[in-house]
Each structure stands twice: as C-alpha cells, then as structure tokens.
Symmetry: C2
Subunit: 197 residues, 2 copies
C-alpha cells in the first residue's frame, strides 16, 4: 500500500512539473500563477501543495533536471576518443535534439533560471559554469590540435549555446523545415560558417 501510494505521488508530481514547464515557458515564471497551473491540472490551487512544496520548487526541479542532463552528457563526450570537431558536433546535435524534443523544460532552464531562489540559484549557476568550462576546454583542445581556428573559446561557447536556443523561434513558427533538416542546417552553419569556400 505504502509502495503504491508513493508511486502515485511521484507520478502526480511529475505531471505537475511537466505542465508547469509548459505554462512557465509560455507565460514566464512570474506571470504563471499557481491558480493557472491548478486549472490545467484540474484541481484547486491549494491541492497542488499536497504534491509540491512551493512554486519555487517547481522551477528548481525543471532547471536542475536540465542542468544535470547536460553535465552528464558533456562528461561522456569529453572522454570519447574522437577529434575535437567531432566532439563539438556531437554536443551540438545533442543540444539541438534536446531543444526539439524537450523544448518546454530546456527553454525554462535557459530563460527563467534567474527567478530561482537561494540556494538553488547558486547551485544552478555552478552547474552551468561548470558545463561551459568543459565546453570551452573541448574548443581549446581543438585549437591546440589545429582542428579549430584560433578564436576565443568562451565566445565560441556562447555563440553555440545561444544559436541553438534560437530553435524556440522554430517551435513558435509554422515549422516549414523538419527537425532533421533544422539540425543539419545548424551544424553546417556553426561548424563551417555561412561563407561558401
């Protein structure tokens, strides 16, 4: 019985988090109210608090989940026995796929993290800083091995990450291009540039 009840609670909490991600993505954290969320779930606002501690906890669960997935992935890719350019391509494809398939949570993590309260905020910022350092290290390695042109690695990381975040615009649009085509185009431009050789 206890086992069944626990399972039920976890599942309901995850439904709430998923719906919260969609709502926060659409309206922004501050404009997304718990009453809005409750209506989407189909309960009264007060009932949400049987499953979650606070509105802040919802944001924290979303942001930390995304940050952890990203960090796990970059650790794996960093250790692969492939060229730096291949590592970056893998990382970009992973980011693009996350942005396409897990849009709501990734977007919220990217854009709404500043509304996190302490100590979640510092925790999240540390994870993000750590991630960007590892990304920059891969680029530095590629420059040293002369696979990548001599550019500022921090600037390159920033371009890559923000370029991928532009997929939000694709989501918002009529999506005249498929997810796969979007991915191939982004890789071509980011790795090879706009200019024809």
């Amino acid at each position: 019985m206890g086992r069944i009840k626990t399972t039920y609670n976890i599942s309901k909490k995850e439904i709430i988090i998923d719906k919260a991600a969609a709502l926060i993505r659409e309206k922004g954290f501050k404009a997304a109210s718990m009453r809005d969320l409750a209506e989407i779930i189909g309960v009264e606002a007060a009932s949400l608090y049987n499953h979650i501690k606070s509105k802040n906890e919802l944001l924290y669960e979303i942001c930390l989940h995304v940050a952890n997935v990203y960090n796990k992935k970059i650790n794996i890719i960093s250790d692969e026995q492939i060229s730096s350019i291949e590592k970056i391509e893998m990382l970009l494809r992973f980011h693009i796929q996350c942005m396409i398939q897990n849009f709501e949570k990734v977007f919220v993590s990217d854009r709404e993290w500043k509304h996190l309260s302490e100590p979640y905020l510092s925790n999240f910022q540390n994870l993000r800083r750590n991630y960007r350092k590892k990304f920059a290290a891969i680029i530095e390695e590629g420059i040293k091995k002369e696979e990548i042109k001599k550019i500022d690695a921090t600037t390159a990381v920033l371009i890559m990450l923000y370029a991928v975040s532009g997929i939000e615009s694709w989501h918002r649009s009529k999506q005249k291009i498929s997810g796969n085509a979007l991915e191939e185009n982004m890789i071509a431009i980011l790795i090879g540039g706009l200019k024809k050789l």
Copy 2:
C-alpha cells in the same frame, strides 16, 4: 513657458524609460514593479503616472524603439552596392554594437516583448517578422550569387540573431575580452565557422 514644460516632460519620460529598461532587464517585466522603479527615480510610485500612461507603455516604448532602429538599418544595408556577405557582416557588426552599447533596451526587446499588450504586441511582431524576412532575403540573394553555401535562410537568420543575443552572457561576466575582440571573434565564427580550413 509651454515649450519649456514640454521639453522637461520629454526628458523626464526618457529618464524613466531608460531606468525602466535597466530594471526590466534585471528582473523581468512582471517582477519589475512600479514601486521599484519609482524608488530608483527618487519619487513615489504614483508620481510616475504624471509622465507615463502605464507600465505597459514603458515596455512598448522600449520594444518599439529597438524594432524601429533595426528596421531602419536593414533597409539602408539592403540597398547598399556591396556583396551579400558584406551586407551580412555589416548587419552582424551593427547588431553586436547595439548589444554592447545599448544592452538594456535590446535585451528587453529580445526577451520581454511577449508581455506586450495588444495592439502593441501585434505591431511589434509585425516589425520583427518584417525584419527577419529582409534578413533572410539578403541570405537568399547571397546563395543565388554563390557567395553563401546552400543552407536554409530562415535557420541562418535565427542562428545569427540568437548568437548575437549571447552577448548578454558577456555583459554578465567579468568581460575578460574587449568589446572589439568579441566582435571580431563573433564575425569570424559566424561567417567562417569553427573549423580550420
């Protein structure tokens, strides 16, 4: 006398808009309160309404200003007698400069426009759609002239615009690289790609 009073009002309104841009950039539109803003200006909240109509008007003034500046610029660049790649480079450098020098307003326009109320929202979205179409047209032209590789123009626009928006991260950081160096690095990566030839 009437002339002097008008000048004074315009000036005070512009101070309020500038301070509002900084506050909204920092906290987000919904979290930035008129009481916060009043304190920054050094008056009571009620006094703000002698200069502005509403909180929404502040956002509208910021977003429309930026959108108009961008549209004016792209019209000028589109008509220049230079190559498509040169046009894109000019446009990127312009964007980067705006992002560096006019950070607060550009950021608010990029990230907080969704809180605009009608009819301002539709007005802004039209300007933005128009701008992106013209940007895409320059890229299409470059593809046709075989200066630019065969990629999806809409995707390319999205990458360029969002990559530049990443300068927010540079602003937030210790800025170990100068504005000029940042600009040159971004141009090199976006036009030429990461990969060494």
